[in-house]
Symmetry: C3
Subunit: 164 residues, 3 copies
């Protein structure tokens, strides 16, 4: 067994993927929700699902969107609702790993930790888990055709209305 | 819109920037405060500022230094004061992103999470936020001409005397 | 002094090291303990030690294994014991830094944060610290000849039976 199987991906692909992951997190951390759907293909799948359900292949997800339009709708809903307490979000994404290069796209996983800061409270860990992604070349850039956000906790974070 | 705009930076520049960010965090995590000013240019700007003030362009910062000498003074003050409880610091820096290559220097941002460990207590998240940096070539290396540490929390961490 | 000393390592070595660190964390995060010893050489040294002891060169470590067989034994013991509450682990590894290229191997350090998720509880920071590694070429891959996991906290995390 080879300890570090890492796919023999060209350097420029690695760099472009790193840039994609950075740009995605930055848009969310900047609160630029309207830019969020642009990171996805038109027929994308976006899910936020507890690890327990993901591993048992149970379908129930906290968020389930099946197109870029649904993501855009979600942003509008988020902007128009005031039911949740305002918070700042901060992503740390690591362990970005190219798993497979398939004709339909690139398979990647990455670990994430999300920290939130609410008014008059210290920052705190909010959620951690792993992205399971399919990334495709589209036009001049890379986009997510699939992003499954699998979070580790079994308790549903009540504030999880914001994209991961 | 291109989802992953990432600048077309040569690989060796990317690698050198990654090394700079690593070396900076490592020096602080090792408690080698005396080495900290060396990461900056002589006329550097170093600030630690809450995100609220940064976004509204309010000038008030928790730490504000306008030269490498001021950083060195700060280290001396830190070493001579015993008013703060000893703690170990640990940086996780991610999302390092080259934003612009300008004649005056490179513009970058990066996310940080700082964890602290105090005697007889478990490690905890202390601060998270984003660096807004200007990096310049100087002699044989890269140095920070500007490092603005923008932290997310609105509460001032009482122990924030240590460099970020 | 050069601010960013980073060794002049070829890009493909950097990429392979990044892959090794990713694969290691992923195996543990996936709970695939049986794959864990494969990341080490036969005569490896693996330690988990508090920073206080590491810096004073005190020998006492929480975990001390001197061969791949000892790691494998540890996995069996972990699988057979039910004394610890089940938890999910999530690694964030950053600041991976090549420190020296020696005839006996590559010297690296990296920062880690470990988050754990227990049933019906939110995810939380569990441990943070630094890996001090020696990595060698073996067969077609890279393996750890030495991995010293130095954690920052002075309190012994009672649940630290799981590999770091």
């Amino acid at each position: 067994m080879i300890a570090a199987p890492g796919l023999d991906a060209p350097f420029d692909l690695r760099a472009r993927l790193a840039d994609l992951y950075c740009a995605y997190s930055d848009a969310l951390d900047d609160g630029e929700l309207e830019r969020w759907p642009d990171f996805f293909t038109e027929n994308c799948v976006y899910k936020v699902i507890p690890r327990e359900n993901f591993e048992r292949e149970l379908p129930i997800a906290l968020i389930y969107c099946e197109s870029r339009d649904m993501l855009a709708d979600r942003v509008v809903a988020l902007r128009e609702t005031a039911l949740y307490v305002p918070r700042l979000v901060r992503h740390l994404t690591g362990n970005i790993r190219l798993r497979a290069i398939e004709p339909q796209g690139l398979r990647l996983t990455a670990n994430f930790a999300l920290f939130q800061s609410m008014v008059d409270q210290p920052s705190e860990l909010f959620l951690c888990g792993r992205y399971h992604d399919k990334v495709v070349e589209e036009g001049a850039g890379l986009r997510f055709a699939e992003r499954i956000c699998v979070y580790d906790s079994t308790v549903v974070p009540t504030s999880l209305v914001y994209p991961v």
